[in-house]
């Protein structure tokens, strides 16, 4: 054997899986103690360990041991890898989450150890988005170690080494572990050494062998280390090493690894739909923190609010921790998700508080004063909108980096709504969620500038009337006859009264019918008895049990702003209620759903069949998008999926948006959104010893989705923005009456390229007061963008590669440095 096997001593540590985090935390402490003891006993032994969260636990609980760790890191005996907070799932977190994974952990490593990690390391994560190379590279990492999917799941992925490319041009040299991340015991190690020795020779390339008791921690045992030493004495070409050392040596030797420019799928196809709770919490917490940081930055720069950088850091660390693959993938025990819910709640409370403080503070500076308003009859009347003779100002805040026009809901009914120029806008009084007080709220069509606000004037309406004429033309109509029909200027939507499906969806611009099949949007139940929670070795969920049966269908709203059709379907003891909402000027049909699910081992999907040929499905992935074949395999994706087809020489399709789901499939031309997957918690390979099982999707859940038909192939930039808008809804904040320096409409950020958006506006982590703006190109095309942010005295141009994420650091004088996720601190 000419080539060497690098021995990577490690302990795979799942901080949560078949145990709660408290158990995982203890496991981390014990593993480090064991590793330190082994390091003191064996001079050559090197211990590789990932996850800044684990190091931080040790630092907090056992400072003395942490000191030992620091010394060993300096000596190169403990090698931190993976500049992320945990070994995250690599499909579902947002691009911004991965930026934070790198930011908070690499800065932690830099602070504690004086170095950052060059090797990304997610050996157990179940699949990997094609954007991971960029997300690693921008986090300071050049190399990557992964294992899943393994050869039997996807034989096309090269092993042991490949150059993995992202569309922006980022590349990481990747080691695809060919035979397990946790070899222990003589027999297992001997087998691995033999196998890897052959592989090294066949590929003319050094390889790595990962050994050490894992999953519940442990690490290399005395027996393992001594056995390896003996093998070495007997002539085996092996050496104690680390991934960093391995990669550096391999690069220096001039290896020509093959190129891979796709994602790495599939291993556990069920993980993207199991346990809806964590999916929804993650999506919501990510968005809320991003938005709250934006508003905190605005309020700090323009209204003297304190920066909440430290609070946000702790909140993001919670979110990052819960992106650990066994948590985010919904395959941990039930009790663990109580903890997850609580820690996500912490993060969202931080976000909510910071956002509320910022928005209210900003409203105080808006000039909402109306002459005469202080002359109302009583103090009560002055502040209580019911009794006022004056319109109440409501500031609508848009956290997106582009202008939006969307329906916004505000408390109480109104008789008239005007924009900041006192021009009438469309509105409608709709049923509130309250059962006392007024029973109506106002929904109005707000147009709000990028990262900005617009003040609207809502004139009080009387509860008993409810309906008021907005006084301007509307494009929405509704008709309830044999079918229920709702329309706006873009769409005509019909609903079948026999099965509750969308029986017709026509785009008015070209008259094209998109819903020719009978099951468009008809909730359909699939079998889930064979797959375990992960769905090991199962890649399609396509065994239909039945469609849900229509119990009722009703046109519940028909106004100038919107029409709403409510359907109720049942299956067994389960119910799903869907409100189909078509609003004025909207190109998408929005659906608010509530499910009460009680069917064990079932899957609920919403289908969107489209007729045509040459179907291509496209999905949002973290920081980008990917096109996939329409083969019915369950695919991980973020906020949207699309099916586009050809017919009669033209292309068209439908895009489906989701507020909280991550799993789609597309058999032939039928895009399906997987909304419920009711597996047994942490059911590993479906052994299922007799028990009264708990199921990970039973009970009540609320979610939203939307359907948008389109001509041509999917317009990625527009779709990404619609998806962002679907998640980051403008917030309506009632204002008081006061004089102020701020105008009634203002934008704090301008980006002139239609395919560039800003994910983050925040303060730099080093406390300098410098600001960070992180933007990304979304359409897969180069961009030359002007980015302007007056509050930071910054306005500049930047070139973007396709799907490139760029981080700009702006100093107090508005000078801009382009850096990476580490904000120029490292």
């Amino acid at each position: 054997m000419n080539k060497e096997i690098h021995l990577i001593g490690n302990a795979h540590l799942d901080p949560i899986w078949l145990w709660r985090w408290q158990e995982g935390c203890g496991e981390v402490l014990q593993t480090f103690r064991s590793a330190l003891d082994r390091l003191n006993e064996y001079d050559d032994f090197i211990f590789t360990c990932s996850s800044a969260a684990h190091y931080r636990w040790v630092e907090e609980i056992d400072p003395a041991m942490f000191e030992e760790i620091c010394e060993k890191v300096k000596a190169g005996r403990i090698v931190p890898v993976n500049g992320w907070w945990v070994q995250a799932d690599c499909n579902m977190p947002s691009a911004e989450s991965y930026a934070r994974q790198a930011l908070y952990s690499q800065l932690y490593y830099y602070e504690k150890f004086g170095r950052i990690c060059r090797t990304g390391y997610n050996v157990d994560s179940f699949g990997h988005s094609r954007m991971i190379p960029q997300l690693l590279k921008k986090g300071g990492m050049d190399f990557y170690v992964m294992m899943r999917p393994e050869k039997h799941e996807n034989a096309d992925i090269p092993a042991p080494l490949f150059n993995w490319h992202s569309p922006d041009g980022s590349s990481v040299l990747t080691y695809h572990i060919p035979n397990g991340y946790a070899r222990d015991g003589v027999e297992s190690i001997d087998e691995a050494v033999g196998f890897l020795g052959n592989m090294a020779d066949e590929n003319n390339c050094d390889v790595m062998m990962f050994y050490g008791v894992g999953n519940h921690g442990g690490g290399p045992t005395k027996g393992d280390i001594e056995h390896l030493e003996k093998l070495k004495e007997n002539g085996a070409n092996i050496k104690f090493s680390s991934p960093d050392e391995y990669f550096t040596e391999v690069c220096a030797s001039g290896v020509d690894a093959p190129v891979w420019d796709d994602d790495l799928q599939h291993h556990a196809s069920g993980c993207y739909s199991a346990t809806s709770l964590i999916k929804k919490l993650n999506r919501k917490a990510e968005a809320w923190l991003q938005n709250a940081e934006k508003w905190n930055t605005v309020a700090c720069k323009t209204a003297g609010q304190p920066a909440k950088t430290e609070e946000f850091k702790e909140a993001w660390r919670k979110v990052c921790f819960n992106q650990f693959h066994d948590i985010m993938c919904g395959c941990s025990i039930m009790e663990a998700y109580d903890d997850v819910r609580d820690s996500e709640g912490y993060a969202m409370t931080v976000a909510a508080t910071a956002e509320n403080n910022a928005l209210l503070r900003l409203t105080l500076d808006m000039n909402t004063w109306l002459d005469g308003v202080s002359e109302t009859k009583t103090l009560n009347a002055r502040h209580h909108c019911r009794n006022l003779d004056y319109p109440r100002p409501v500031a609508v805040f848009n956290p997106n980096s582009f202008d939006v026009t969307v329906p916004v809901r505000a408390y109480h009914p109104s008789s008239k709504v005007e924009n900041s120029n006192h021009e009438p806008v469309l509105f409608q009084n709709v049923r509130s969620s309250r059962s006392n007080d007024s029973h109506l709220d106002t929904v109005f069509l707000a147009k709000v500038p990028a990262l900005g606000y617009a003040v609207y004037w809502l004139y009080w309406g009387k509860e008993e009337r409810g309906f008021y004429e907005p006084g301007i033309d509307s494009d929405t109509t509704a008709n309830d006859s044999d079918e229920i029909t709702i329309e706006n200027k873009y769409l005509t939507v019909k609903f079948s009264k026999s099965n509750g499906a969308v029986s017709s969806l026509i785009t008015k611009a070209d008259g094209r019918e998109y819903a020719e099949a009978e099951n468009f949007c008809l909730p359909t139940v699939f079998d889930n008895t064979k797959p375990d929670t992960w769905a090991h070795n199962i890649f399609k969920f396509d065994e239909v049990i039945d469609t849900m049966k229509l119990q009722s269908i009703k046109l519940v709203e028909s106004g100038k702003l919107r029409s709403v059709v409510r359907t109720k379907h049942t299956f067994g003891k389960s119910i799903i209620t869907q409100d189909f909402i078509l609003s004025s000027g909207m190109k998408a049909l929005r659906v608010k759903a509530k499910a009460i699910w009680q069917e064990p081992l079932t899957i609920l999907k919403i289908p969107f069949p489209v007729k045509g040929e040459d179907g291509i499905s496209t999905y949002e992935v973290p920081g980008g998008f990917i096109k996939r074949p329409c083969n019915g395999e369950e695919e991980p994706a973020l906020k949207w999926g699309d099916i586009s087809v050809s017919s009669d020489g033209s292309r068209y399709g439908v895009t489906v948006f989701s507020d909280s789901k991550y799993s789609y499939s597309c058999p032939e031309n039928e895009l399906r959104l997987t909304v419920i997957r009711n597996s047994i918690f942490a059911d590993h390979y479906s052994d299922r010893p007799a028990a009264d099982f708990n199921y990970c999707d039973e009970g009540v859940q609320r979610f939203e989705y939307a359907v948008m038909p389109h001509s041509d192939d999917v317009d990625i930039a527009q779709t990404v923005k619609t998806g962002e808008m679907f998640l980051n809804r403008p917030v309506a904040v009632p204002c008081g009456y006061h004089k102020g320096t701020l105008p009634l409409e203002k934008s704090y950020l301008t980006i002139d390229a239609p395919n560039v958006i800003a994910d983050a506006v925040k303060f730099c982590e080093d406390g300098s007061g410098d600001a960070i703006i992180r933007c990304r190109e979304v359409a897969g095309k180069p961009a030359y963008a002007m980015i302007k942010c007056d509050m930071l005295d910054a306005a500049f141009y930047s070139d973007f590669y396709p799907t490139e994420i760029k981080t700009f650091r702006i100093d107090k004088d508005g000078y801009v440095t382009e850096t990476n996720f580490l904000e120029g601190i490292v």
Binding site: N163, G169, S171, G254, D256, D799, G814, Y815
Partner: protein, 591 residues
Amino acid sequence: MKLPYVLKPHFSRKSTFFPLGYEGAPAELKNEPVKPDFSSFPLPLPSKKSDYRCCAVTDDGAVWAGASNGVTRCRVEEEKKTDRVMFFSFERDLPDNNVINIAPEGNSVWVLTETGITHIELVTFTAEEKAEILLEETLRAVQRRSMVSHKFLAKRGDVSSYLDFGHCDNDGGFTALFASGEIFRYAVLRREKGENAPETLEAKAVASRAVEAVLLLMYITGRGDGFVARSYLTVDEPVPDDGLFFKKHGGKATALETTYTKENGIAGVEIDASAPVPDRLAKLYRDEGYSDDDIIYKADTSSDEITLEYMMLWLYSRLMSGEDEELDDLVRQSARNIMSHILDNNLRLVDFSGESTMWAKWYEDYFNTPDGWVDACLNSAEVLMYLKATMDITGEEGRWKEAYDELVSRGYAELGLKHFDRHVTANNVTNEDFVENIMYGDHMLATASFYILCRLEKDENLLDIYRRAFSTWRFSTAREFSPAYDFPYLAACPDAQLDMERICLWFDRANISRLAGSVTLTGRHDIPVRKYRAGYLEAGAALPPDERFISKFDRNPLEYKNEDSGGAQCVEGCTYYTLPYWMGRYYGFIK
């Protein structure tokens, strides 16, 4: 992508410098400066808003504002986004950056700075007029016996003070690029105006003379073995202490004493130089009164020269041959000579010692060295291109085809696919970012090689490999928005989608002189500085050519600080405008 992209007449900046106290300047320069109000200005500004201290409004409504780092012109009505805000700075536009006051005069301005007064005008030209102006400057001030690289100036900023002498290390390669542009020019004018039109004939003369200058380097050594000189001097020119020079005398050539020859113990080495130089080519120096014995040539030639010279030979053969039999023969014979030299010497260019020169290595053993491992991806394509071009130029197959097929069978074509990944791998060893380790001169070599390979290869499999290999260079070439890279790429890969408006900014915004000038972007408020891990700095966006430094293709145009570029002490050749302009016209990419 709609082609051709129509180039409209566009203004170019023209600065005229005057001393402080110049009486012809408007009296308003002495007035109290008026500070501009940019509080609601909608576009990025090159200076920090609070730093603007004076302004003037010209007849066209443009606001010209001065700050401590230069002058900004703002006119939001300009059609092109990039023209709405323009920046003028030391040292091509201003004598210094510290602007004290500005006075308008029609659509031009007078600018008072700390050390002088400048009159700045915007003069409108068509793209073709600009090509002619730049060519005229090159022929007047840059060319040296028809070789075109650059010329140093006796007086800073004054092109008319160009020195008569001064060779360039890569005279052969740079002249071949210039000649290539002129060959395209001739082909376009012949097609559009007819072969006997005066401008066609003038273009033919310029192109022919440039081709002769390059061919001369292929014969001037007198070695008779196909070895090509980097450059040559006459005895009246100073010999720099920079490399390996041979002085010809009586059919011999002797290595002159330089640091290099002394260190290598070869000073005074005498070699054969008896092979005749064709009269047609020797005329270039004989007409100036020099004999063969007055010639000093530079050796240790690199692959750069060979690659760029092959491009010129191939373009001549395709676009000019059939009209000048003598020159046609010389071109064909030169292609044979070089190719034979490379094949006879096991894929290397050998110097007098029989050893390969420093950089002209195309053999596999070199590819297996640490340096050669990265170079292999380019060098393999180069030698394949030489062979393919030789076949096309000579109309012969035989030995050339055998060698080509043999190299293809040994994996030379596929090596080109590894450029990007090998570069990244090498960076991983040095812990640098991609752009920190780029050899910018390689961009044009790769462009020339793959352009010709893609144009000539008929085998679909190989063509696909070459196109994909070409695209591995786009990560670092596309970001320059340089038509000299983008047009050959488009000619090689017709399905490529390019941002023609951005690329053609090259023509709109090129200066009407190639007077060099260093530019530092420090203090630019509208352009991010991009910091790489080893400390290298770049601009976060490619600036228009008149706001960045002037150089050849061997520099990074996004360089943030380039105070070392020689500044206004030098005038560059026009190639970097004329080659892409006439090539674009020839292929119908622009009009």
